[in-house]
């Protein structure tokens, strides 16, 4: 026990900080229905801003902290409340893409402004030592634990004992009723966002001295809060606090138990996501309420191309894609990568756009295909077969992801797949079943026939696969399954009411989408000659969703545009500024697209008049005139 005490002390401290972040997250989720994936990036931003005030401007730390809480906490909270307001009634895809976009954008801004290297940040709280049962404890740790406990208890009392607090809880259930009580529901939401945002800011600044200023790591650590929030079933603040503490202490104790063993080295940092995933898998779904405002914004159907427009697109597209490798010179591999991403986006589009299911783990699926394909090549299986097997092995893994999809709807599915992606990357990528070994990469050669192993030759290989994949998606959309998927996206209840088992529909779309993702993964490695886990980082999965939402709703054209934006265009420049801010543009773009209708601004403008007509017609027909009542009475 003695040996464990120092670890437990550290665990209690970090656990407190996770708990603080998690409580803020749950509070905003409860009151607005928006699950803020950018919560961690928000915390990281606060840490950097605090450091600017304190170290760069030389302000005393309490002043720096106050300014940080005002700038990042209060102002940030107000901005987030505006965002949440604009997202209310939007589709789950749009709501997820918005905060994921914010996460991607914020994190990249931090890297662009402050650099990607980890900076140290000196402690600001007193670091003197005292002893508990022979274990040295810093006063700073004590302050953190007491401060967080105080804040959480304070918030709990505020929510349950004050008028505004009770209103804050009621606003979720019925904003109109709160309005009748003379309290403005918008004001209540504003309070919630400010508190949540300040808690995030505080957690970032409290974590930074121990682990250093690093946008990536700080963001990731606050993701630990997701696990804590899951323990509280995304509703209960006290349980969330307990969850944060348990995860903090648990991770440290595991560190001590595994004692440097490399086999389990990833276990402490994956604990929160294991917790998250397991809670989402076992919690009865009635406890996981979909929090959304009653009024759902009408979905705009994808603008249908006329056959003539299709012919024009093909007439331009076919010659351009055939000639392309001969005119772009050394950039040809860039375009090949672009084609791989066309397949990825087409498969993700099938899932997100056509069927309305969210996956934040798409790159993990592609990684399975990539590793399998490379292993097959290593075993002497010819190239086309190896790619196909890669897809076939990925498909049942996709079925695994579909299990949460069957149990969970909407935002909880997004959270579960997020956890799945992180877990797969940390627990599986490095093992012998996937990339394995020291370097986390495998040789993946191109097919050695007919000159297909040259850059230009391989471009054509991937082109054929991309065209086949797109054709496959078009065929699926036209088949009965395509109709069922669109029905699933619009109203699963209606599909259910007509006798279709929607669990099967969900399973099918995940399997098909994963198959395509696996094919894309398999084709990715040979571009550079190595299948490497580095290509399949979970953060890319997040960017995929953001860019897909940005690129609109066309089943084929949108994936092509998205792939071009993500994988080709940015690399036509060496300008560091542009490279740094590409992801920022994607993140912000997705956020804007999600807030203003989940579609590109141009399509929005085209759709605006139609929406107006629709609203007018609804209003005209929706009101039951009093004459009905009168007639009834005369009965």
């Amino acid at each position: 026990m003695r040996d464990y005490l120092p670890f437990i002390v550290v665990g209690i401290t970090t656990g407190s900080v996770y708990a603080l972040a998690a409580v803020g997250l749950v509070l905003t989720f409860k009151t607005s229905g928006i699950f803020n994936f950018a919560h961690g990036a928000h915390a990281a931003t606060a840490a950097y801003v605090f450091n600017v005030f304190r170290s760069d401007q030389g302000l005393p730390w309490p002043v720096a902290m106050g300014l940080t809480l005002v700038v990042v906490g209060v102002v940030g909270g107000l901005l987030l409340e505006r965002m949440a307001h604009l997202l209310s009634g939007a589709s789950v895809a749009a709501r997820t893409a918005a905060t994921v976009g914010l996460l991607v954008g914020l994190q990249q801004i931090l890297v662009a402004v402050f650099g990607s290297a980890t900076k140290t940040m000196p402690f600001f709280l007193p670091t003197g030592l005292f002893s508990i049962a022979g274990t040295n404890v810093r006063y700073e740790q004590l302050v953190v634990v007491v401060l967080v406990l105080g804040l959480v208890i304070g918030l709990y009392v505020f929510l349950n004992r004050t008028r505004v607090g009770v209103a804050m809880q009621a606003v979720v259930d019925d904003p109109d009723l709160v309005g009748l009580q003379g309290i403005d529901p918008a004001a209540v939401r504003r309070y919630a966002w400010i508190v949540g945002s300040c808690f995030a800011s505080l957690s970032g600044t409290l974590l930074a001295p121990t682990i250093g200023l690093d946008a990536g790591i700080l963001t990731l650590l606050v993701f630990f809060a997701f696990g804590a929030a899951a323990v509280g079933r995304f509703t209960s603040l006290p349980l969330t606090y307990v969850g944060g503490m348990a995860i903090g202490i648990g991770a440290e104790v595991i560190k001590k138990v595994i004692d440097g063993s490399s086999t389990f080295a990833q276990l402490p940092s994956t604990l929160p996501f294991l917790v998250l995933f397991v809670v989402l898998l076992v919690t009865p779904t009635r406890h996981l309420l979909e929090r959304r405002s009653a009024q759902t914004r009408p979905q705009m159907p994808a603008h249908q191309f006329s056959p003539a427009a299709w012919r024009a697109v093909l007439a331009i597209g076919i010659p351009v894609s055939l000639i392309l490798p001969h005119v772009v010179g050394t950039k040809v591999t860039l375009w090949t990568t672009g084609l791989v991403f066309v397949i990825l986006f087409a498969s993700l589009g099938l899932l997100v756009r056509t069927s309305g299911q969210i996956s934040l783990a798409h790159m993990a699926l592609a990684a399975v295909g990539s590793a399998t394909m490379a292993r097959c090549l290593g075993a002497g299986i010819p190239f086309p077969l190896a790619v196909l097997i890669g897809g076939l092995v990925t498909a049942p893994v996709g079925a695994l992801v579909a299990i949460p999809a069957i149990r969970l709807s909407g935002i909880y599915l997004a959270i579960a797949t997020f956890g799945f992606g992180l877990l797969a990357q940390r627990l599986l990528f490095g093992t012998i079943v996937m990339f394995g070994g020291e370097t986390n990469s495998l040789a993946a050669s191109r097919p050695e026939m007919f000159g297909l192993d040259t850059d230009v030759g391989y471009y054509y290989v991937v082109l054929v696969a991309a065209v086949a994949s797109c054709a496959g998606v078009v065929l699926i959309r036209r088949s009965r399954l395509g109709h069922m998927l669109r029905g699933l996206s619009d109203s699963p209840r209606a599909l259910d009411a007509h006798g279709a088992n929607t669990n099967i529909t969900r399973l099918l779309v995940f399997v098909l989408s994963s198959f395509l993702a696996g094919i894309a993964g398999g084709l990715y490695g040979p571009i550079t000659g190595t299948a490497s886990s580095a290509n399949f980082d979970f953060s890319v999965s997040l960017v995929l969703v953001a860019v897909l939402v940005l690129a609109g709703r066309q089943p084929i054209l949108s994936p092509v545009i998205a792939a071009f934006l993500l994988a080709v265009l940015p690399f036509y420049t060496d300008n560091e500024f542009i490279l740094d801010y590409t992801n920022v543009a994607f993140g912000v773009g997705a956020l804007v697209a999600a807030m203003f209708g989940g579609q590109p601004v141009l399509a929005r403008l085209r759709g605006a008049t139609r929406t107006l007509d629709r609203e007018r017609s609804r209003r005209r027909h929706a009101v039951t005139p009093p004459s009905v009542v009168a007639e009834g009475v005369a009965l």
Binding site: P298, S491, A497, G499, A500, P625, G632
Partner: protein, 261 residues
């Protein structure tokens, strides 16, 4: 093959001594009723009488505390909602559940396609030529029956409430359900639309032999189409009989509309 594709038209819905309790609250108290195939049965009553709870027990949203519900002689009260649809019990929603990004024709056709898809994975993936012809033909007939042929290319999300109700009905008719549960289809309709909707319902029952249980608040619609009516109050059945007689009875007027009527 699901039963709905083979079973002859005309099964009845029987509710036998249904009781539903929510904690200490008895929402439905020993209600028994029979809604015959091929006729329209009305279930009326003031707000809070237990109409919606009874309806929800039929669709599977709430579980009966006591009693049972049978359809075509089979117990359905423990079946999933998809399963109930597969044996031929269709429904519409009070808050419309259209496939909003799809056209009216696509909505109506998918109503039938979902039936074909059912529980079979392969059946959900692709359709045979015969099935496609069946889907088109049934959709045509349903669109005509509901008088919305000219709307077939409109996007469902663009429709007025009145038109949307007709699309929901057409979708359920195209699906081939021998029996439909309709949950306050008149809400959001004006009296003229309600009356028209009632005429269409009457035709659906007469010509297509489809049985309907209509849970309704609005007298215009009930009067326009129901042949037999059950009246609920405070969770209990207080009156039943032929439509004319029930609507004229003093007991119903008092219970349903208050004593001043």
């Amino acid at each position: 093959m699901t039963a709905i594709l083979t079973e002859p038209v005309g099964p009845s819905l029987e509710i036998d001594d249904l009781t539903v309790r929510f904690g200490g609250l008895v929402a439905v108290d020993g209600v028994s009723l029979v809604a015959r195939g091929g006729t329209i049965t009305g279930l009326i009553g003031p707000n809070g009488a237990g109409k919606t709870t009874t309806f929800n027990a039929c669709t599977g949203i709430v579980q009966p505390t006591e009693g049972e519900i049978r359809f075509g002689g089979r117990r359905i009260d423990r079946m999933s909602s998809a399963r109930r649809a597969q044996i031929g019990l269709g429904r519409t929603f009070q808050r419309m559940e259209l496939w909003e990004t799809m056209t009216v024709r696509e909505n109506v056709q998918l109503g039938r396609e979902a039936v074909h898809g059912g529980r079979r994975p392969w059946g959900q993936v692709r359709s045979s030529a015969a099935e496609r012809a069946d889907v088109r033909e049934r959709a045509d007939r349903a669109l005509d029956r509901c008088g919305i042929r000219e709307l077939e290319d409109a996007v469902a999300g663009d429709l007025s409430t009145g038109q949307g109700r007709l699309v929901e009905l057409a979708r359920a008719i195209a699906a081939g359900f021998p029996f439909l549960l309709l949950d306050e289809p008149s809400s959001g309709l004006d009296p003229k639309e309600s009356a028209e909707f009632g005429e269409i319902l009457a035709e659906v029952a007469d010509r297509d032999g489809i049985g309907i249980l209509l849970v309704e608040h609005d007298m215009t619609l009930v009067r326009a189409c129901c042949t037999y009516i059950y009246v609920l109050e405070f969770g209990q059945l207080i009156h039943e009989g032929e439509a004319e007689a029930v609507l004229a009875s003093d007991a119903v007027k008092t219970a349903y509309l208050g004593s001043e009527a």
